[in-house]
């Protein structure tokens, strides 16, 4: 029994490598993006050990200092250590980015599956709700949800997730409709496979790769929106170490202390470029619908 399990596990691992890792590794720029993102993930995970200060500890005597031995990347106007805030900011950005996309994906895929598989009036109603959501630009949608939910990290995740439900739902439904008409689904049904098993084993695996590609590209939008909303003052609340908040805070000191907004600004820009590189790579490697750029 355990032997059989081992076999299937190793088979899955090798097929995972063949189906996922190898095509991605062929995209050189995607690998660069992946390496940068891994570095950010490591910085975020080990932030408590790498940080030299408490990210929210204020020291007004040391405010507005440039990079030094005590404060590697300088301090902001409250005397908070920018290097430590940068690390915890990476943690926050990645958590919000991935969590909001994951939540939006689960809700969106569920709605898309329900609409595509049930059909009829349910589909009509669900898709009209999705149309209504998609009619708004995602930032405006997220701002509206923030106004209803109130400020804070958790609410920001929910607001972003809600604004991502639409694209995932529409996409899943489209893919499900395509898969549903395939002969193998009909065959499974005729063989008496239960509906849920058909969905889980035959429908989902066939719609999963375009959805994951979409998710990969959404993470960078999520992080951009997250920092943007916090920059506007309608996201995370101070003194949480958030890059958007840090950039907003440094805005007033741009002439005398450009590093306050520069440190989080450059970190954010590099992360977004890396995420875009990986997203493009994922799309080129796995999405059959888009041809590669010539």
């Amino acid at each position: 029994m355990s032997h059989a399990l081992d076999l299937s596990a190793s088979f899955q691992a090798s097929s995972w490598r063949r189906r996922f890792l190898q095509p991605l590794m062929r995209q050189r720029s995607a690998v660069v993006g992946l390496v940068i993102i891994l570095a950010y993930v490591l910085a975020a995970v080990f932030a408590p050990w790498l940080a030299t200060h408490n990210p929210t500890a204020q020291d007004l005597g040391a405010a507005l200092q440039g990079p030094s031995a005590a404060h590697w990347l300088g301090t902001d106007s409250f005397g908070q250590d920018l290097y430590s805030r940068l690390l915890y900011g990476a943690q926050l950005a990645l958590i919000i980015g991935f969590a909001s996309v994951a939540l939006g994906l689960v809700a969106g895929v569920a709605i898309g599956l329900a609409a595509g598989l049930i059909g009829g009036r349910t589909e009509w109603v669900l898709m009209r709700i999705v149309d209504g959501l998609l009619a708004f630009p995602e930032l405006i949608l997220a701002m509206a949800f923030m106004a209803v939910l109130g400020l804070g990290t958790e609410n920001l995740v929910y607001a972003l997730a809600l604004s991502f439900v639409g694209p995932f739902a529409r996409m899943t439904r489209g893919d499900v409709l395509q898969v549903k008409s395939q002969p193998f689904i009909e065959a499974a049904r005729l063989m008496g496979v239960p509906t849920l098993a058909i969905i889980w084993r035959h429908v989902l695996p066939n719609v999963v790769s375009p959805i994951l590609v979409q998710a990969g590209m959404r993470v960078s939008i999520a992080i951009l929106l997250e920092s943007g909303l916090s920059f506007l003052g309608i996201g995370v609340v101070p003194p949480t170490p958030d890059w958007g908040l840090m950039i907003a805070e440094g805005r007033g000191f741009i002439t005398i202390a450009p590093w306050i907004s520069g440190v989080p600004g450059v970190a954010l820009a590099i992360l977004l470029v890396a995420l875009n590189l990986l997203g493009d790579g994922l799309r080129d490697a796995f999405d059959p619908n888009t041809q590669k750029d010539a």
């Binding site: 009209r128 009619a135 930032l139 002439t255 954010l268 977004l272 590189l277």
Partner: protein
């Protein structure tokens, strides 16, 4: 063609209706009782009931929605209780023109820089122009516009003193002053588009240049510039417009950030300060207006295809 246009119009009307339902529901979801908010902390039961009745809040939700939609269409959007301003005037006559001017000017800058860069990148493949275009595409698309705006203010506004750092002067009041004030915001917002436009121009031109009719044009002895700019570019316009249309959401996102960074009194600024002040009816007007704008712009992008590509006109 007309039948397709009517179907499209019908679909658009349905989406607009959904936009209005969503905007209406927003106010219903908003925390706090609107009557209490308007009356303040000190009020009697009688005045509470009276205002509830005046606002129509004692009626069924569907009737309230009907009233609200009718008022919205007539341009009666209520008054802001913070600035005491007519919200319709604030949104449509003051904020909307600022956002549209900013967006149009940014798009113009992006096209003027992006198209030639893309053409050069396609003609001189793998040269430094090509590398530059790719770098611009990846960097510009990912760089957060609010931070780019801050850098531009720092370097060109404060450091070199070439441009004003904030404020808006309407180009229709004073054209050159307006352009001067819009320059940095438009570059900030346009930077996001330049790379994208260059990239699409490059890849679609490369594709088109291999077509037989390009070879035919060359064989007829037409000059190189004519082959590229007349025969080639005509076919680049379609994918270009598609991408511009697809990225309208991104444009609006960038516009909100840019307006706040440069203190331009546009729609983004209006919605942002409304969210900060918890002025839910202003937010509602803002989302309804952006929703309608978004839907209409998408419809327009859709319709341009038929003018650009004669093949679509004949196809049933």
């Amino acid at each position: 063609m007309w039948q397709a246009t009517f179907t499209k119009l019908g679909q658009t009307l349905l989406v607009l209706l959904l936009v209005s339902v969503a905007s209406f529901s927003f106010l219903k979801l908003a925390p706090g009782d609107p009557v209490t908010i308007m009356l303040g902390s000190d009020y009697s039961k009688a005045s509470y009931d009276q205002l509830t009745q005046e606002l129509g809040l004692d009626q069924p939700v569907i009737v309230q929605y009907g009233h609200w939609l009718a008022n919205f269409v007539r341009g009666d959007w209520g008054t802001s209780y913070i600035t005491n301003q007519n919200i319709f005037e604030l949104a449509v006559f003051q904020a909307l023109p600022v956002t549209l001017t900013l967006a149009a000017f940014s798009l113009l800058i992006a096209l003027v820089i992006g198209i030639p860069t893309g053409v050069m990148a396609a003609l001189y493949r793998n040269s430094w122009v090509d590398v530059l275009a790719t770098t611009l595409a990846i960097g510009g698309n990912a760089f957060p516009s609010f931070y780019l705006g801050i850098i531009l203010i720092w370097v060109f506004g404060v450091g070199l003193g070439w441009f004003p750092t904030l404020g808006f002067v309407a180009p229709w009041d004073d054209f050159w002053q307006g352009m001067w004030h819009l320059a940095l915001p438009a570059i900030t917002l346009g930077a996001w588009y330049v790379g994208l436009i260059a990239r699409i121009t490059r890849s679609s031109l490369l594709e088109v240049m291999g077509q037989p009719y390009i070879l035919a044009a060359k064989a007829r002895g037409e000059p190189g510039w004519r082959v590229v700019w007349v025969h080639g570019m005509r076919n680049v316009l379609m994918p270009l417009i598609t991408v511009i249309g697809l990225q309208l959401g991104g444009m609006l996102r960038g516009a909100v950030m840019t307006e706040v960074v440069f203190s331009l009194p546009g729609l983004g600024m209006m919605i942002t300060s409304a969210v900060l002040n918890r002025e839910y009816i202003v937010i509602q007007a803002g989302i309804m207006l952006t929703g309608v704008l978004f839907v209409v712009l998408n419809l327009m992008v859709d319709q341009t295809y038929q003018f650009l590509d004669p093949r679509l006109r004949r196809r049933k």
